[in-house]
Symmetry: C2
Amino acid sequence: MTDDPRSPNLLMISKLENTFTFSSEEKQALLDLPVQVTVLKEDRDIVRVGDRPSQSCLILEGFTCIYKVTSEGNRQIMALHVPGDIPDLQSLHLRFMDNNLAPISPCTVGFIEHRDLLQICERYPSITAAFWRETLVDASIFREWLLNVGRREAYTRMAHLLCEFLVRLEVVGLVENSTFDLPITQAELADALGISAVHMNRVYQALRADGLIQTKGTQVTVPDWEKLKAAGDFDPLYLHLKGGQ
Amino acid sequence: MTDDPRSPNLLMISKLENTFTFSSEEKQALLDLPVQVTVLKEDRDIVRVGDRPSQSCLILEGFTCIYKVTSEGNRQIMALHVPGDIPDLQSLHLRFMDNNLAPISPCTVGFIEHRDLLQICERYPSITAAFWRETLVDASIFREWLLNVGRREAYTRMAHLLCEFLVRLEVVGLVENSTFDLPITQAELADALGISAVHMNRVYQALRADGLIQTKGTQVTVPDWEKLKAAGDFDPLYLHLKGGQ
DNA sequence: CGAGCTTTTGAACGCAGTCAACAATTGTGG
DNA sequence: CCACAATTGTTGACTGCGTTCAAAAGCTCG
């Protein structure tokens, strides 16, 4: 739904170029990758557990999440995705989806056929490496979330998640004046942090009361980055961004 | 420490062949991969957060884990590895280690130089795919652990972990008569499940009292697989084993 | 056979969950 | 543009799963 049909590819390339340098031939191959742009509503899953998709999905606008549900009906959100992410790149090499993928806000995505991805990977090893690396960073984030959910108390946990959001959104230029849009309900945040919605609400209020964040609708402002980092026990190393250490 | 110096490579190949079929040329290349076998004691990390290793490590005997520690000193174990696993394959494409890797029992590992791995990957795309896939399965396990730690109560969580162990050890032939060796302290299990050691002990006792497991030293026996599966809310799909669904 | 680790037990406490009601906001159709 | 419905956010009270602290008992191994 963008005027420039190449824009999805450029978003993907600029993300990958955070850590890789491509030859002009490789870049052209990435530009030529067919991407089918679609606008999705937030109340329908993109793929579900057990599915065998033949395409992967690049987030262009809005946010998505992957989640699973226990047999008791408790939902855990395992990851949140921002524009530039490819949340189900794994399905390129795993036969079945082992999680659900859904938009958490109205969002625009681009679908890329596995066939095309495999073809470009076979031809250009450094593109393979770049995609592989993306999935490794995803895994690194899962590890940090495990530490977060398993060993940090709710207050710290929430502060940590906000730190991660700020950094990841900054990378794709979605932060202005320490402010970003977080179009996500408290119930969803609770599911991402492994706590109840009620407790989430209390923690959120505490963060505001302590001056770590200011909110206005879905906008979140971080007045003191160092303070939030300290509160969230946050070290961006695990995001493996360009800056390195 | 095996008589047959090729054995490490064969272990790796048989694991990869669970889901991939290699040509004889590819298989030979994997067999020719130099592997430096070493015996490690359990009280020293193999790699640490911030390290930049030039090799990855294949588990041959014993168990290892990856873990992180919060600034408060709480440890979370994010994964446990059994023979055949390559716990730090990620370091092939990520500049820095974002977690610690340590043996949890005396263990034998084989170190493989990144240089050699990259070379073989460049030459054989299907070997790249096989290694990539391994890291994707690791990520899938992280996701399941997130659900486990975030949304299941301690009793179910422990049952789930035992289920996972049984299945993964079965794949590498380390289960006999529904019995396997679990040379890991309760404090370590607690760190893997995100609970305290004291509570771990109580849950463990409850599992025994309910007849879901029998223990004898470090040996664990599962008398009724279906019952344990039910107690652990366990579905092996996320392990992406050969059997498919 | 004693040192050191691991497991076990008890008691008190607390973080977070559940339930229930209400307030605020957003969305929708007339 | 308003009225009503539905979702989301907020609050209070009670409960409970799991933590913490401390001490004792059991193992393992030199």
